[in-house]
């Protein structure tokens, strides 16, 4: 294996890992506030589809990107609202959101473009790919610092550990959780934007392909810390890159198996992690 091959493999790992990384940062924020976020998949889908759609009609990929993030945030807000104001079971609400978003995007393709499966090519921001990769890693470090060191970070953690104690200290856990869920949606939406407009220039059905759930695994395996989740997300990126590199090199191995590699790795990682890592104590529990 030559050096250039290794370098291109690593570069691909970063690119493939970044959307997972962005969504996992959102997952960390919402879970540390106490909201289980299995809706990352739907939020990524909504962000990717909205970005492509808006970019197509405005012919401006930057407006598309902002729109994708905003729609992701809106979906995150919906999850947060359902979880805090209506006290809906967070897993059920998350599943509902995932179904609505994937179904809504598939429906939107036919409704808007009159074709199933994929949008036409749209204006993209491929030139911003690497700045986004680097920005995502910097963001992970910033969030790590903010959660540990700032008053807002402390309050976020307090809400995820014991919202009653946070309430007694004058903090509104419902507001904190709603904000955290909304920002989480924006970050997952940005992950979707990265896929649709950063790497490619379209949206296609199944494009997210479980990356939201992989991001959730990264949250858990990264022990609910931004840098931990980012590291695990990049490892998943590396597995995806390896999968690309290995395709066709081993004749007897079906490519389907190689494509399943990152998911199998996530499953094994979660099996190893289960029980050993402690989630935030009040995660998934409605307040009050």
């Amino acid at each position: 294996m030559t050096l250039s091959l290794v370098l291109s493999l690593l570069a691909l790992a970063f690119v493939r890992g970044t959307p997972i990384l962005l969504a996992s940062l959102g997952g960390v924020l919402s879970e540390r506030s106490g909201i289980v976020n299995i809706a990352l998949e739907g939020e990524m889908t909504a962000g990717a589809f909205a970005a492509a759609l808006i970019s197509y009609f405005t012919r401006d990929p930057w407006i598309g990107a902002i729109g994708g993030v905003a729609v992701g945030a809106g979906v995150g807000f919906a999850l947060g609202f359902a979880a805090t104001r209506w006290r809906v079971d967070q897993i059920v609400a998350g599943m509902g959101i995932n179904l609505i978003c994937t179904g809504g995007a598939a429906f939107g393709l036919i409704f808007v473009f009159n074709q199933a499966g994929v949008t036409p090519q749209v204006p993209a921001i491929n030139q911003a790919l690497w700045p986004m990769v680097i920005g995502a890693i910097v963001l992970a470090a910033v969030l790590q610092w903010a959660i540990a060191r700032t008053p807002i970070g402390l309050r976020l953690r307090a809400c995820g550990e014991n919202p009653h104690a946070a309430r007694a200290a004058g903090i509104d856990p419902l507001a904190v959780r709603l904000y955290a869920s909304t920002i989480a949606g924006a970050l997952a939406g940005l992950g979707g934007v990265f896929l649709a407009l950063g790497e490619l220039n379209l949206y296609s059905d199944g494009m997210i392909a479980g990356r939201g759930f992989i991001a959730l695994a990264a949250v858990i395996f990264g022990r609910w810390t931004p840098l931990g989740a980012a590291g695990v997300a990049l490892i998943f990126g590396l597995l995806e890159a390896l999968q690309f590199a290995l395709q066709g090199t081993i004749a007897w191995l079906p490519s389907d198996f190689l494509q399943a590699l990152p998911y199998i790795a996530a499953l094994l990682a979660l099996l190893g992690a289960s029980g050993r890592y402690r989630p935030p104590a009040a995660e998934g529990k409605p307040y009050p």
């Binding site: 060191r149 008053p151 953690r157 307090a158 550990e161 009653h164 004058g170």
Partner: protein, 447 residues
């Protein structure tokens, strides 16, 4: 819940609020602190009222200083000034005798120290009145003294302290004034100097103090035989025997192996050595909410928990609901559990009434062996008398009883024999009800 209650707490006084479980003490505290709303009436506060709950509301996985400054963090350039926060914790700690390592994780701290953190958190907000709800329920005798030392320092600085308690010893040792609450009404309010313990006790329960039956000696065969019991990290080579019709008291400071001993005898933890005990066993667990009940379930369901087949006369694959109701009603009547209905969620009952159900569940089938771990922790005089009477009745019926308690008075009142445990080993034995309080106290802290 509360009806026409007038209560004042003045600056610099220690005011005791006493009453049976369900009398409305905690409700009154929550209203005073602004956590609950009233239907009528008003609260006048000169300054902040701080409330320390009976079940601590700390965030376990945060550090001590994080718990203390949460919501009013000292800041420097947008970040928390951690040095200032640590210094703040140390400063209040030194001022009031509440020394704690500011960087310790709360979950790593024992109960007594957690209470200091809880106090620190309230004191950090500079209250003019501090309400302590059952502050000594989980403390050792030394910690209780220390707590009242802190309270004295607070009152010297002009803070009014309202202590909610069941323990009349503490009321008469430390308080300046006492208010008795019964069924949501104030039935007595006097300076301590102008009342007596008997008078306060009568006011609390609204009648005469129930007496415990006399302690007649019994002579039974050995029912429980423990040989060379060892539980990793807790106890080593511990041997003891309990006769039928005997209450064996275990005296010791919390965390010296009592939990491992009780769990091993109940079959709840792995151990080495041999344990011979009867198969019919009743357990009154240490932590009611954690180990004994499911609060959202009804009295009926909780009464059947763990003994789903006991109600049925003949073996069956289903629960005999009718028989279960009869049994639960029997427990409720015999053990004086005060509830609106056996179908009400257990969480609607006061702690003392929940505990009476737990005790009733453990004793109703007349087990040959009973493990009672702090059976009256945090419950009132009336409920305590019921529990003590029933434990003695079980003993007189021939049950062997292991009684673990952190209260020497309880051990002295009930035990036939007392073993002292310290650092996972037995340090002394006191038989024939000849108990020497001082000698036992010394052995409890021996190394």
């Amino acid at each position: 819940m509360l009806d026409d209650v007038d209560l004042t707490c003045e600056a610099g006084e220690i005011h005791a609020l006493v009453g049976e479980n369900g009398a409305g003490k905690s409700t009154l505290a929550a209203i005073a602190a602004g956590e609950l709303a009233t239907d009528a009436g008003e609260i006048e506060r000169s300054g902040r009222i701080g409330l320390v709950h009976q079940h601590f509301a700390l965030i376990e996985r945060l550090r001590v200083w994080e718990n203390v400054v949460l919501g009013h963090e000292p800041q420097r350039g947008g970040t928390i000034d951690r040095d200032a926060a640590r210094a703040f914790v140390r400063e209040i700690g030194e001022r009031y005798g509440l020394e704690v390592d500011p960087d310790a994780l709360v979950e790593s701290l024992p109960v007594g120290i957690r209470q200091r953190v809880e106090l620190l958190r309230e004191l950090a907000r500079d209250p003019s009145i501090l309400i302590l709800d059952e502050p000594t329920a989980a403390l050792s005798p030394g910690e209780v003294l220390r707590l009242f030392g802190t309270i004295a320092l607070l009152t010297q600085r002009g803070v009014g302290v309202l202590v909610i308690t069941h323990k009349l010893d503490e009321v008469f040792a430390h308080a300046g004034r006492v208010t008795v609450l019964r069924r949501g009404r104030i039935v007595e309010e006097r300076p301590i100097a102008a009342t007596t313990r008997e008078r306060v006790a009568r006011a609390m329960i609204g009648g005469e103090i129930p007496s415990i039956p006399a302690h007649e000696p019994t002579h039974g065969a050995i029912a429980v035989r423990v040989t060379d019991l060892a539980v990793t990290g807790a106890i080593e080579n511990l041997s003891l025997q309990i006769a039928a019709g005997e209450i064996l008291g275990i005296a010791g400071v919390e965390g010296n192996g009592q939990t491992a001993l009780a769990d091993a005898l109940a079959g709840l933890t792995a151990f080495r050595g041999s344990v011979e005990r009867p198969s019919s066993i009743g357990v009154i667990p240490q932590d009611r909410l954690l180990e004994a009940v499911i609060p959202s379930w009804s009295l009926l369901e909780n009464a059947m928990l763990g003994r789903e087949r006991a109600a049925s006369a003949k073996p069956s694959w289903r629960i005999d609901r009718a028989a279960a109701r009869t049994q639960c009603t029997a427990i409720v009547e015999r053990f004086d559990v005060r509830a609106t209905s056996i179908d009400a969620p257990l969480s609607t009952l006061s702690g003392g009434n929940q505990q009476k159900l737990v005790v009733g569940r453990a004793l109703i089938d007349n087990p040959a062996f009973v493990i009672a771990y702090n059976p009256t922790r945090g419950i009132d005089i009336g409920a305590t008398a019921t529990v003590h009477t029933e434990l003695l009745a079980a003993r007189n019926r021939g049950a062997a009883i292991l009684l673990v308690s952190f209260e020497l008075d309880e051990l002295f009142a009930l035990s036939d024999r007392i073993l002292v445990i310290a650092r996972g080993a037995l340090r002394g034995e006191f038989a024939d009800r000849r108990f020497d309080r001082e000698a036992i106290g010394r052995l409890m802290v021996s190394a």
